[in-house]
């Protein structure tokens, strides 16, 4: 398994922070060289990986501003809900960033040369007196300090009546989808004034509304397949070839709940908060409140694997409901080889599950424990008496510290964890290439203390 080491502590230095600094989304680009984060204040910060392996700030820009909808007398938050990178075509980088209502396509480009020697203007840009121009010169390019510019290239507005919760770029690199609570729209990257509605869950009679869309994503390879999950715990796979409106699903992934175990919270707890296709395209990862599940696209009636993230919360659902924590939406992530799954939890903990060995580990991302180059120590949450000094009791968990947003480098074992306004980037110390440990490479005893039985938290 991995031994995460903090390689970049990009946390804010002051312990006090404003609400606007809270990170709301984290996303690596396709090569992993860039990492983009969005925050509640509408800013996007892009980090670039240095040759030494560390991530440093590359560009910062204000993507969305707060708006006020005068017709409805409501504020539209500038919080960035999702960022998705477009595949690289040219030296510039493109990414889509969205808040509740508007999606923007940003171009991030570098400039390291400047043209000098214009005929009509001098170096400061002032117009030259034409009588002083006696000869013509060809401007030459001279190197300058690197300047990274971000400019909005497209604004996709007014496509959604409800809050946008996800965007996903199609593998055809020309279209992308955006999903709100009730509808999914298909856009073309070059066309901003119209979109196609491909899924519509809004009932004729709104009184019948009992289900909303929570996340939607395109298949990584098949441009006609998309998956979307709902608040009732179902995930649907839709095929756009069948018909224009994908209300009829091609597949429905749902696990039957044992009726004897049903409680009033069953539905809320089963609500899917994140869906991710595996890199191979063969599996689907879904995250609900207490578990992560791996589904084989070929089998709809039950997941192939289920991992308990924090089952000790099952007896606390009532108070979590009261505090609204039960509605927290955690994200999940695959590693590059689809062998390890990661997701966040409370108390600044995040969990990793190795699918092959069925081992799992709980780690903490917080300023107190994360020092540069230190190896993270596993955590354990105990329900009853503490077995070890380092165990943490369920009752002392801090539910305000939640790790909702996590991302895994597409190729290497580098993970980015967002904890409120802090971003932690961890790297696997022992296996920078992403290969599993072999006895020859391993020079120190394993850093995990995982036990196959019973499962640790």
């Amino acid at each position: 398994m991995l031994s995460p080491v903090l390689c970049s502590d990009l946390a804010a230095l002051e312990p006090e922070y404003t609400e606007a600094d809270v990170i709301s989304t984290v996303e690596f680009n396709q090569s992993g060289e860039f990492l983009a984060t969005g925050d509640r204040g509408g800013r996007v910060v892009i980090f670039q990986r240095e040759p030494q392996g560390e991530y440093n700030v590359y560009s910062t820009f204000q993507s969305h501003e707060p708006e006020f909808d005068y017709l409805k007398s409501l504020e539209i938050e500038e919080k960035i809900n999702k960022i998705r990178w477009l595949p690289l075509h040219n030296p510039a980088h493109f990414l889509l960033a969205t808040n509740d209502k508007t999606i923007k396509l940003w171009k991030v480009s570098e400039r390291d040369k400047r043209a000098e020697g214009y005929n009509l203007r001098d170096e400061e840009g002032r117009l030259k007196d034409l009588s002083t121009v006696t000869t013509l010169q060809v401007p030459v390019l001279r190197p300058m300090d690197l300047l990274v510019e971000a400019s909005p290239r497209r604004v996709f507005a007014n496509g959604h009546a409800y809050h946008i919760n996800s965007i996903s770029v199609n593998s055809d690199c020309e279209t992308y989808l955006s999903a709100d609570d009730l509808r999914i729209n298909l856009w073309h990257l070059n066309i901003t004034d119209r979109s196609f509605n491909i899924v519509d869950l809004k009932p004729e009679n709104m009184e019948d509304l009992s289900e909303v869309i929570t996340v939607a994503e395109f298949h990584p390879h098949h441009c006609h397949l998309l998956a979307f999950s709902s608040s009732t715990g179902t995930t649907r796979l839709c095929d756009m070839r069948a018909r224009a409106l994908c209300d009829q699903h091609a597949k429905l992934f749902e696990e039957a709940v044992d009726p004897s175990r049903r409680s009033f919270f069953s539905e809320i707890v089963s609500s899917v908060s994140d869906v991710k296709f595996s890199h191979s395209g063969r599996y689907l990862l879904t995250r609900d409140y207490l578990t992560v599940k791996v589904w084989d696209l070929n089998m709809e009636n039950k997941p192939v694997e289920t991992y308990q993230v924090h089952d000790y919360l099952r007896t606390k659902l009532c108070s979590l409901y009261e505090s609204d924590c039960i509605f927290d939406k955690f994200e999940c992530a695959w590693n590059g080889t689809d062998s390890v799954i990661m997701t966040g939890a409370y108390n600044n903990y995040f969990r990793m599950f190795d699918r092959a060995s069925l081992r799992d580990v709980t780690l903490e991302a917080s300023r107190e424990v994360c020092k540069r180059r230190a190896v993270l120590q596993p955590r354990r949450v105990c329900v009853g008496k503490k077995r070890k000094e380092t165990d943490v009791s369920v009752d002392s968990l801090d539910f305000r510290k939640k790790i909702l947003h996590t991302a895994w480098h597409p190729k290497e074992n580098i993970i980015a964890i967002a904890a409120s306004n802090n971003l932690y980037i961890f790297q696997d110390r022992l296996t920078p290439n992403g290969h599993h440990n072999t006895p020859e490479i391993q020079s120190a005893p394993p850093k995990w203390q995982t036990q196959p039985n019973p499962p640790t938290y």
Binding site: I76, M206, E207, S210, S231, D324
Partner: protein
């Protein structure tokens, strides 16, 4: 969030006296804390269990503690739906999940038959009208009604403030048929889901008012009914179950009394000026609404349209000036 909860709860209490003295005994669920509810007496209907044998007594106690917890959960869910974020649109997913929970509880209560008892407990003549929670009043179905309560007493959908002072054209959509017992919900709940148009409060109050006034007000309701078709943009507001109960016992007087306690100083000057003359009765939701910070949107409008236009303009002006 917690602080908002508490403040609002204090304001809720005088308006929902029954809620305050409801006496939620939480039984054996230690982590279930409802700070805003005062501890009080057990519910009357659970007393009936005590006549039986010990074993079944224990079972009955467990059952009654379960139903107490269930009732607490129901109340908590209703409150969650009522509290609205003042400026930002509510999270639709959260609202749908809470509403589904409420539905589930009420269905179960119906099947248990305890719904019946709840209705009885609340609607019994023994209770003084002012103790009656307006919200659950709506929950109650009077006995002569059908056994399938269509629920929902979600009074106001989290939704915030009254954007467009819509005159409850929504109310209109409720059919005024006597025979339909499940009338309310239809059309109502649906509308509340309309995002951002949710601001149950005033409208709920109106709906409530209308429902209580019985047949005499049918005409008014019909007017609004027509009005609803004329202003489509105001659709989707109330989320409430307002059955039109014609001649239901007591509630009229209950409401009268409830309203008589209303402190008119709560009225915002604007509210007065923009034509609230026609509505001497201000329901609890209206009070809530006028308590809302910068925003007072007069919503009790019995004569729709022109007045609502005025109100709308005022409202918009307020926002522009105030923000």
């Amino acid at each position: 969030m917690a602080s908002i909860f508490v403040v609002s709860a204090e304001r809720f209490i005088p308006l929902f006296p029954r809620l305050a003295c409801q006496g939620v005994l939480l039984g054996c669920h230690p982590c279930f804390r409802l700070n805003m509810f005062s501890k009080g007496t057990k519910r009357k209907f659970s007393d009936g269990d005590e006549e039986i044998s010990d074993e079944s007594l224990v079972g009955a106690r467990v059952a009654s503690s379960y139903s107490l917890q269930r009732q607490s959960l129901l109340d908590m869910s209703l409150i969650k739906l009522q509290l609205c974020h003042m400026l930002v649109e509510p999270n639709l997913c959260r609202s749908v999940l809470i509403a589904n929970t409420v539905r589930q509880i009420q269905e179960e209560m119906t099947h248990d038959g305890s719904w019946h008892m709840v209705a009885e407990a609340f609607c019994s003549a023994g209770q003084s009208p002012s103790e009656r929670l307006v919200a659950t009043e709506v929950l109650c179905r009077s006995r002569e009604q059908d056994a399938e309560p269509k629920l929902f007493s979600v009074i106001s959908y989290e939704g915030c403030r009254e954007e467009e002072v819509v005159a409850d054209e929504t109310l209109c959509s409720v059919s005024v048929s006597d025979t339909v017992s499940n009338v309310c919900l239809a059309g109502r709940i649906g509308q509340c889901w309309e995002k951002s148009e949710l601001s149950g409060v005033e409208r709920d109050e109106e709906a409530l008012e209308d429902s209580r006034l019985g047949s005499g007000e049918d005409e008014e309701i019909d007017t609004k009914d027509r009005a609803s078709t004329e202003s489509p943009k105001t659709i989707g507001q109330v989320f409430g179950t307002f059955e039109i109960k014609n001649g239901s016992p007591g509630p009229d007087s209950a409401l009268e009394e409830l309203f008589s306690d209303v402190d008119t100083s709560y009225y915002d000057l604007d509210t007065m000026l923009t034509g609230m003359q026609s509505a001497p009765k201000m329901g609890p939701y209206d009070i809530l609404d006028s308590l809302a910070p910068s925003h007072s949107s007069p919503s009790i409008v019995s004569t729709p349209n022109c007045r609502s236009d005025l109100n709308e303009l005022d409202h918009i002006m307020e926002i522009i000036v105030g923000s």
